[in-house]
């Protein structure tokens, strides 16, 4: 199993009507052994910006700490919160700094920009941004997630329906993956 599959993870974010939702599984494992069933993968950067980090858990935690540090500095200097697009560029730059010794993480960023326009994007482990208008996925269950989201997604869903759709997509995909599961955390903004 590759280094990305060492801890196991499943992350997905979807866009709705003036809202977004981001969800992750809760399992932390060491290859096939389950260590914890309440592991947090999605972190809040500010009220309207969340980042989920899949892949190696230690890199995810370290990367999150560095990003929080950079965002707090930004808040002090600019006296406002970062826009999601700016934050995505920041994450991309930080990941590319480690081009030849990368963080083994794939971030999923979801936020509300100006005029409450939802923004989601994902990146590979060296910072290649992939902007999407509907949904983004990451983690060991990503192939199942692509299939489930493609089948269940509808544009302009309200928050309630978005929550249901996202939860169902996540649960059915992790049921087909040994390395992720044990429930999910869903954040709807």
């Amino acid at each position: 199993m590759s280094i990305f599959e060492y801890n196991g993870s499943a992350l997905v974010a979807m866009v709705g009507k003036n809202c977004f939702a981001i969800a992750s599984d809760r399992r932390l494992g060491v290859q096939l052994q389950t260590i914890a069933t309440d592991f947090q993968r999605i972190y809040k950067i500010h009220e309207n910006l969340f980042i989920g980090l899949s892949g190696l858990a230690t890199d995810a935690q370290t990367l999150y700490q560095r990003l929080v540090f950079r965002h707090k500095l930004y808040q002090l200097r600019e006296e406002r919160n970062m826009k999601p697009e700016t934050f995505a560029s920041l994450v991309s730059a930080i990941l590319y700094e480690k081009r030849f010794g990368p963080y083994f993480c794939q971030p999923v960023i979801a936020g509300l920009g100006d005029d409450n326009k939802p923004f989601i994007c994902t990146m590979d482990s060296i910072g290649a941004k992939e902007l999407a208008k509907d949904f983004v996925v990451a983690g060991t269950a990503s192939e199942s997630l692509y299939g489930a989201c493609e089948a269940m997604f509808k544009p302009d869903m309200e928050a309630e329906e978005l929550f249901e759709t996202l939860s169902q997509a996540l649960l059915s995909s992790v049921d087909r993956d040994c390395l992720s599961g044990w429930g999910g955390h869903v954040y709807v903004v």
Binding site: E5, C19, L32, Q33, T34, L112, D177, C178
Partner: protein, 269 residues
């Protein structure tokens, strides 16, 4: 050094019957050697291909009333779950069970083959084969194919004239008699619960509950085990399936969720 092919030749008799009863039915089906220059690496690749498939948890133990056999039902290929409903307890005949761990095809084929041999023994000798005999038959066949990439980790459990019998047989050619066994990637976790709760004089109900709990705990910790925990009992009248419970439901039965106060964070959008 000439390559030693003596293990590949069909053996004359494996059962002992020397009358022409085995005409037309080969005692040890022989397979051709692959046409590669590097025979050693071919074996290694074949073994690596089936290695991930030992993701499973099976267990069996003897107690006062008979033998209890239990298994999960998940088949995994690396990280992908290919099925949640695999039958890992194979019914060799009405009084003998075999468990499946390792390559599914290997286990199913050789267990069915063993069932055929047991039936032939019954017809030739006018009485049922013992568990000792059946497990020896299987172990000898698997020893012939040792090193060729078969992946079988099975337990033969049954009830014969001497009482309950349990043997562990694997594709390396090993055969062990014992009272408690667990095979598969989830076996360390199952052993922990099984060894702790085991007593020889349990009732059928208590033994079934112990077996179910051991499988459940193994599926909790091991990512390659899951699905349905099936429990079978082998007694003097043969085997009987006792239960097949989804492990997710068992989780909420054993550890019900305490409703906790959830703080709702209202985000103004």
């Amino acid at each position: 050094m000439k390559f030693d092919t003596s293990g590949l030749e069909s053996h004359g008799q494996l059962v002992g019957a020397s009358d022409g009863l085995f005409n037309g039915f080969p005692t040890a089906p022989s397979f051709e050697i692959p046409n590669t220059t590097d025979f050693d690496c071919f074996q290694k690749e074949a073994i690596q291909m089936v290695k991930p498939a030992k993701g499973t948890t099976t267990l069996a133990f003897i107690f006062k009333e008979g033998v209890m056999v239990a298994a999960d039902s998940r088949a995994s290929m690396g990280g992908y779950i290919s099925s949640q409903s695999v039958k890992k307890i194979i019914e060799i005949n009405p009084y003998m069970l075999g468990t499946m761990a390792g390559g599914a095809a290997d286990c199913q084929f050789w267990h069915r083959n063993l069932g055929i041999k047991c039936r032939l023994h019954e017809l030739a000798n006018k009485r049922r084969i013992s568990v000792t005999g059946a497990s020896k038959l299987l172990a000898n066949i698997l020893y012939n194919y040792r090193g060729m990439g078969l992946s079988v980790g099975t337990m033969i459990a049954g009830w014969d004239e001497t009482g309950p019998g349990l043997y562990y047989v694997d594709s390396e050619g090993g055969r062990l008699k014992g009272m408690r066994f667990s095979v598969g990637s989830g076996s360390p976790y199952a052993y922990g619960v099984l060894d702790n709760g085991y007593r020889y004089d349990m009732s059928v109900g208590e033994a079934a509950e112990l077996a179910r709990r051991s499988i459940y705990h193994a599926t909790f910790r091991d990512g390659a085990s899951g699905g349905v925990a099936s429990v079978y009992y082998v007694g003097p009248d043969g085997w009987k399936k006792l239960s097949g419970d989804d492990v997710a439901e068992l989780h909420y039965n054993y550890y019900p969720v305490q409703p906790s106060v959830v703080e709702q964070v209202m985000v103004e959008t």
